[in-house]
Symmetry: C2
DNA sequence: GTCCATTTTGTAATTAAATTACATTTTATT
DNA sequence: AATAAAATGTAATTTAATTACAAAATGGAC
């Protein structure tokens, strides 16, 4: 847990003087890390050893050590650990928790990405005759997003959130086609069955899913997202965000491999959309 | 710049003894922050004042201050600057850049969320007779995702990425209905027109879009994502991730306002999906 | 090479900071 | 109200960091 949260949390359990110290630190943590034990003691109106004892209570070896811990927890934008929303949270509370959990999930995923798998996936996509993205339920929108992204390229791309359509596509797939199956758990029976059909058709099956899951076992290439499962009913799935970012990586790799000439083409596509938009006016800038 | 990078970078410019200090720190920064100036001096085989001078060279006020800076730069996963992908990036390079840019976008959004607007939106959703999510192009998948999320509740919910369908729905909307329009730029003509129709029908129009955009002006409530526009062709839009997280916040607020009884209902919905999945076996755990 | 100026480094003294040991006060309990 | 336990503070001690200054080392200029 973050030291500041820990401080906040243990306010009630501390003795009167130690609480004073905690409050002074919480009021302005940034300045606390540049103060000496003497000045902090004075500010909190307690003695120096009290501050020292307080530091030990909080799990530090002493005052300097405590300052180090505090400094680390103050690094701006540190994605905190996964935090659960609770019934009595205010709007500001759960907003912060959701954003931070999502950032934490991305951070974890980044630290665990399988570069080799990604490279294989990008290579496969680049050589693909046809690309398809399949997902069901919550993962359908991820597949949908992926489909949108790949529409900008020449390779035919398909998306479906309908099991029957997916089955047909899987059966008709050929070697050289790449089918990407998206599932958080990797345990959705219907999707696993489609993946098995696709594999039998000699297409390349990429699973954007949990490692060691049934779907992963049907896949030629597995891209796993490593996000801790959400047992929390309130907390929306951060894993799909991680999946979306993985797809961003795939698109980017795909584009880069096409070389600089391709870049101009993308520019033209972007430009062609201009007419469908209202242009920015000076008034808007205000 | 990160202090460690700065250290690495200034290795050549340092004097012989100071370089020794830098090398010792770089070799094991984690342990350096727990050492005294004396032990560090001994390890680097230099005198204590040399270490002190080194700290000042690196921009710190003294040794303890340097340790604080070092500790902060060692915090794992300090991302958060928008970084652009370049043609010659390796897979690892652009993967890191994409993840970090996305986290940066979330961080910015978190720091700028309009709590009041969110609260209004949640209140409106809770009192809604009907909820609809509309988006076009890349924003369609965001609307799709939102639709999936809200399907778990009793309030009728609709999604469309088709302009004609959207128009019909907008014209038929009534006071008490909430229509959420999603657009990164807020300048897509077709969507703005639909929003105008919806507004004319007395429905509550929520714009999940850029502030001060045409769409924002058609909206009763604006939830803006504040993500710097991506001028980069390679970089996929981080803004839609921010939008997704905003939707997570809306869902969470919506759920919390329903109270604890509702929570159990969600549990039952979750449980009802179990049969569609392969259950975890001991073998999987390995 | 050698002289001098400059920079770098180290030694020892000084100052500042943190910690410890112990005394005093406060608090809770009977 | 008496006593034990806990909390806090005072003063002494120890440890750490810094400063002042002296000694090497380095680099030109001749």
């Amino acid at each position: 847990m973050n030291l500041l949260e820990q401080l906040q949390h243990s306010l009630l359990e501390l003795s009167k003087s130690e609480r004073k110290v905690a409050q002074v630190i919480l009021a302005d943590p940034q300045s606390a890390i540049h103060q000496s034990i003497a000045s902090l003691a004075e500010q909190a109106d307690v003695s120096e050893p009290t501050v020292n004892r307080f530091c030990r209570t909080m799990g530090a070896k002493g005052y300097p050590d405590f300052k180090l811990l505090l400094a680390q927890s103050l690094v701006k934008g540190t994605p905190y650990v996964n935090r659960h929303v609770e019934q009595n949270d205010t709007l500001a509370d759960y907003t912060a928790k959701i954003f931070e959990s999502t950032m934490a999930a991305l951070n974890v995923t980044r630290n665990h990405v399988d570069n080799e798998g990604l490279q294989q996936a990008i290579d496969a996509l680049n050589q693909a005759q046809k690309i398809a993205f399949f997902g069901l339920g919550a993962s359908a929108s991820v597949a949908h997003d992926a489909h949108n992204k790949f529409l900008r390229f020449e390779t035919p791309v398909q998306f479906s959130d309908d099991v029957l359509m997916q089955r047909m596509a899987a059966i008709n797939a050929k070697a050289g086609d790449v089918l990407i199956f998206i599932s958080h758990t990797g345990r959705t029976k219907a999707l696993c069955e489609v993946a098995a059909l696709a594999k039998a058709s000699d297409a390349t099956v990429i699973g954007l899913t949990a490692a060691d899951s049934p779907l992963a076992r049907e896949s030629n290439i597995v891209l796993s997202t490593q996000v801790p499962e959400d047992t929390d009913v309130y907390m929306p799935m951060a894993s799909r965000i991680a999946q979306l970012v993985i797809i961003d990586v795939l698109v980017t790799g795909f584009t880069l491999d096409k070389g600089p000439a391709f870049r101009d083409k993308l520019r033209r596509i972007k430009a062609s959309l201009r007419d469908s938009r209202y242009q920015k006016t000076i008034k808007d800038k205000e």
